[in-house]
Symmetry: C2
Subunit: 104 residues, 2 copies
């Protein structure tokens, strides 16, 4: 669908993408982690898109199997949610992924 | 207001009360913590109450200064949110409050 193409394009063209909800603490945590690492992800707040928000969430579910927020992509790859991203960071793997994606 | 009276009554009559949202991970975390401690709070899911949900959130804000979920009460006292409850637990104070409230 058109929306699926838009999401794929967004994920491919931006090194770090976070689909989020403004009032969700898990989304805030992931955004704060990237900020601490000096990375500025492209953040898409699903609750600020009106009816397109829930539609986008369904598209993300079709593409990744994950309906929930935050939904994180690095270097075009689906990473997962907040707990997945934090786990990668604790293993020292997040900065590696980020430098590959952002370093280009 | 009537709703304020209902909330005050609920908080006074139940040793542990959590105002929550079903799909919120912070609310899930606080509910899971109580479960691990063998406590069964009265859980009120604000997103299952229709239009009363947001009204209740406003009443909780008027009574406690806190609009966000989870909103936790123990022994009739306002505790705060997820981070507040977890902090009390780490300090060893949560189980003391719980045994006073639940012990009766
Ligand atoms: N373990 C996941 C949990 C994700 C999750 O359950 N997110 C909630 C909000 S905190 C969600 O998306 N619920 C459904 C929704 O809000 O549409 C993570 O760390 O990201
Ligand atoms: N530090 C607070 C954060 C609470 C918070 O921001 N909660 C969010 C959901 S995770 C909220 O209630 N947002 C507004 C809303 O959902 O109505 C806590 O630990 O409980
Ligand atoms: S909505 Fe509460 S942690 Fe996401």
């Amino acid at each position: 669908s058109r929306m699926e193409e838009t999401v794929k394009k967004t994920i491919d063209e931006n090194p770090v993408v976070v689909y989020s909800k403004t009032w969700c603490s898990y989304s805030m945590e992931v955004k704060a982690l990237f900020k601490r690492l000096g990375v500025e992800p492209l953040v898409i707040e699903l609750d600020e898109l009106g009816p397109q928000g829930p539609q986008l969430q369904k598209v993300l579910e079709r593409l990744t199997g994950q309906f929930t927020v935050p939904n994180v992509f690095i270097g075009g790859k689906h990473i997962g949610g907040c707990t997945d991203t934090v786990k990668l960071h604790h293993k020292g793997e997040l900065t590696v992924l980020l430098s590959e994606a952002v370093g280009g």
